[in-house]
């Protein structure tokens, strides 16, 4: 590298140090949670900040795994996410692919119909009343169906399908393949990175879903992880919840362990898909 002049050197130093600082701030809270989750309550109360616990223990995790409320909430979150994400990605990609066909009649109206929902919506109560009148309350179907498609994702995916060369379409038709065959055995394999990216996005939404759950699910047996976690973290803080008993129900280690078990699955998956994001997200989203 050529020797940099004074101003450019300052520039480089500034760029790298600001990014290092930002990374440290982004990652520190997670590290802290991780270390407290392996600590004893005594150490948490007496030592303040620490990165490596002196008395390493798995008590927090053991407690959670034996807690029927937590295991049931975890199972519910897995079911909601698995079925929900499958439904999301199948419906979104089918619709986006269909709408990408330029020769299709009514295509503009259908596209506008999708786009308009980004600008205007019926709102919380009318949507709730629809879900209720379909008798979906207190079932996972309320969440699966009411959030089946994110309109923005249809628009981005459609732009991706549109950017594929039309020769694929033509040659497949000449070979006598039908539209379904073309979609399933040619388009889908070619779109793997995009499908993987959106699967992850939907998975994140489903795994982190909180609002739909408190809206549509009242039955405690159906409570997903995020709702359970809120009870554990927020309502167990006497200064916030106005609870009459000033005793904490859960130990700090148990709370931190619950945070780790909630956040970890996604944090483990995402770096593997990261290389696709830059391409996947930008496609069409700059100009919807």
């Amino acid at each position: 590298m050529r020797h940099e002049k004074g101003l450019d050197r300052l520039f480089t130093i500034l760029v790298y140090s600001m990014l290092l600082l930002a990374s440290a701030l982004a990652i520190f809270p997670l590290f802290y949670v991780l270390s407290v989750s392996f600590s004893t309550e005594f150490e948490y109360l007496t030592r303040g900040f620490f990165v490596i616990p002196k008395q390493f223990t798995l008590d927090g995790y053991m407690y959670l795994l034996a807690h029927p409320g937590f295991t049931s909430a975890f199972r519910n979150a897995v079911i909601i996410s698995a079925v929900g994400t499958l439904l999301n990605i199948v419906l979104t990609s089918l619709m986006a692919y269909g709408l990408s066909k330029r020769w299709l009649k009514f295509r503009d109206s259908l596209n506008f119909m999708v786009f308009f929902t980004l600008l205007f919506s019926g709102g919380m109560i009318p949507t709730y009343l629809v879900v209720r009148s379909l008798h979906l309350l207190d079932s996972f179907w309320a969440i699966w169906l009411s959030t089946a498609i994110a309109p923005f994702n249809v628009i981005v995916m459609r732009s991706f399908f549109q950017s594929m060369p039309s020769e694929i379409d033509e040659s497949a038709r000449i070979d006598g393949s039908g539209e379904w065959r073309l979609f399933l055995s040619i388009i889908v394999p070619l779109s793997k990175p995009v499908i993987a990216t959106f699967t992850l996005f939907y998975l994140v939404t489903n795994w982190n879903t909180y609002f739909s759950a408190i809206l549509y699910l009242n039955d405690a047996d159906l409570m997903p992880l995020q709702v359970f976690l809120r009870q554990m973290l927020v309502e167990d803080d006497p200064t916030i919840s106005n609870a009459s008993n000033v005793m904490y129900k859960y130990t700090p280690a148990a709370k931190m362990a619950a945070i780790i078990l909630t956040a970890l699955p996604l944090l483990v998956i995402f770096p593997f898909l990261q290389k696709h994001f830059n391409k996947g997200v930008m496609l069409g989203s700059v100009k919807g």
């Binding site: 407290v36 299709l104 709102g123 919380m124 379909l134 200064t239 995402f270």
Partner: protein
């Protein structure tokens, strides 16, 4: 059946489930807005309930809820536009200047990670860090004689907590879109400017920032379309009886009056007011952008 329909039928079939979703869960609720104009009773249904016109809108303005909601919503938005909006742009500009590829990838991974963490977890971590007495941050502050800070319960901190949590979660992830735009800038521009003796500060000012202008305008328009929604979950999770005066916004108010108190018509009226303002804002800012020679969103 002619050739067009033979080819189009399977395609319409693919669109059908999605179309049903949009009709049932997006468009029927839009019709359901009509309950804002009637005295809706779940037993009588929409057609059986009495028409009350603008009664609920008058109530919104008359009861003074409106001013508090508007003030809180606008103040949070102001903070968001001033401090959160530029954050991803800054992150993208910084990442764009990194020449060491491995460093760039690692930093990107770290900065993207918080985007995958739910608001429940983020709020929970903040509570644990700032718990009075036992929280790590407050232990240190007290050790230095500075604390404790009642971060979650003292209303004066609410807006800043909300803002900083937004930045922590979204600044890195939001940079993706700007990075994408930066990768489209013609590299010969940089080479030419170097020949002309421009240093790196000047390159950022004269090449990189102008290259981002279109995306910044579009993101700004989209941002204004959501001026009335701040994200229900995040605010709801931060809300407690002590910070209610500063934390109550349209979305939390709608949830409470509608679902908790069962006042469907009133709450729908508030929701409609919110949606209409949002729609007008997008339309207005989009026009403004077009007049200024930008492309706009639609």
């Amino acid at each position: 059946m002619n050739a067009y329909w033979k080819r189009a039928f399977p395609i319409y079939f693919m669109i059908l489930p999605g179309l049903l979703f949009f009709i049932i869960f997006k468009y029927i609720p839009m019709i359901g807005i009509s309950i804002a104009f009637i005295d809706y009773s779940p037993f009588k249904g929409i057609t059986g309930s009495e028409w009350v016109g603008l009664h609920y809108f008058r109530r919104l303005f008359a009861e003074g809820d409106f001013l508090v909601l508007l003030k809180n919503t606008l103040l949070l938005n102001l903070l968001d536009v001033l401090f959160f909006f530029p954050a991803p742009i800054l992150v993208a500009l910084l990442l764009n200047e990194v020449r060491v590829k491995r460093f760039k990838t690692v930093v990107q991974t770290i900065l993207y990670a918080p985007n995958f963490i739910s608001w429940v977890v983020i709020v929970g971590i903040t509570i644990l860090l700032f718990a009075t007495g036992s929280g790590g941050v407050n232990q240190i502050l007290e050790h230095w004689g500075l604390g404790p800070i009642e971060l979650m319960t003292d209303p004066q901190y609410f807006r800043w907590v909300w803002l900083l949590q937004n930045i922590w979660q979204g600044a890195g992830w939001g940079a993706i879109i700007f990075l994408a735009a930066l990768s489209a800038i013609d590299p010969t521009l940089y080479e030419a400017s170097m020949m002309d003796g421009a240093n790196r500060w000047r390159q950022v000012w004269h090449i990189t920032l102008p290259g981002l202008r279109n995306v910044i305008v579009i993101m700004f328009i989209l941002r204004f379309g959501h001026i009335m929604d701040l994200g229900f979950e995040h605010i709801f999770l931060l809300q407690n009886p002590l910070n209610q005066d500063v934390s109550e916004v349209f979305e939390t108010f709608i949830y409470k009056t509608g679902l908790i108190q069962g006042d469907y018509s009133y709450s729908t009226a508030v929701g409609l007011f919110k949606s209409v303002i949002g729609l007008m804002m997008v339309w207005f800012v989009n026009r403004l952008a077009k007049r200024m020679g930008q492309e706009g969103v639609f």
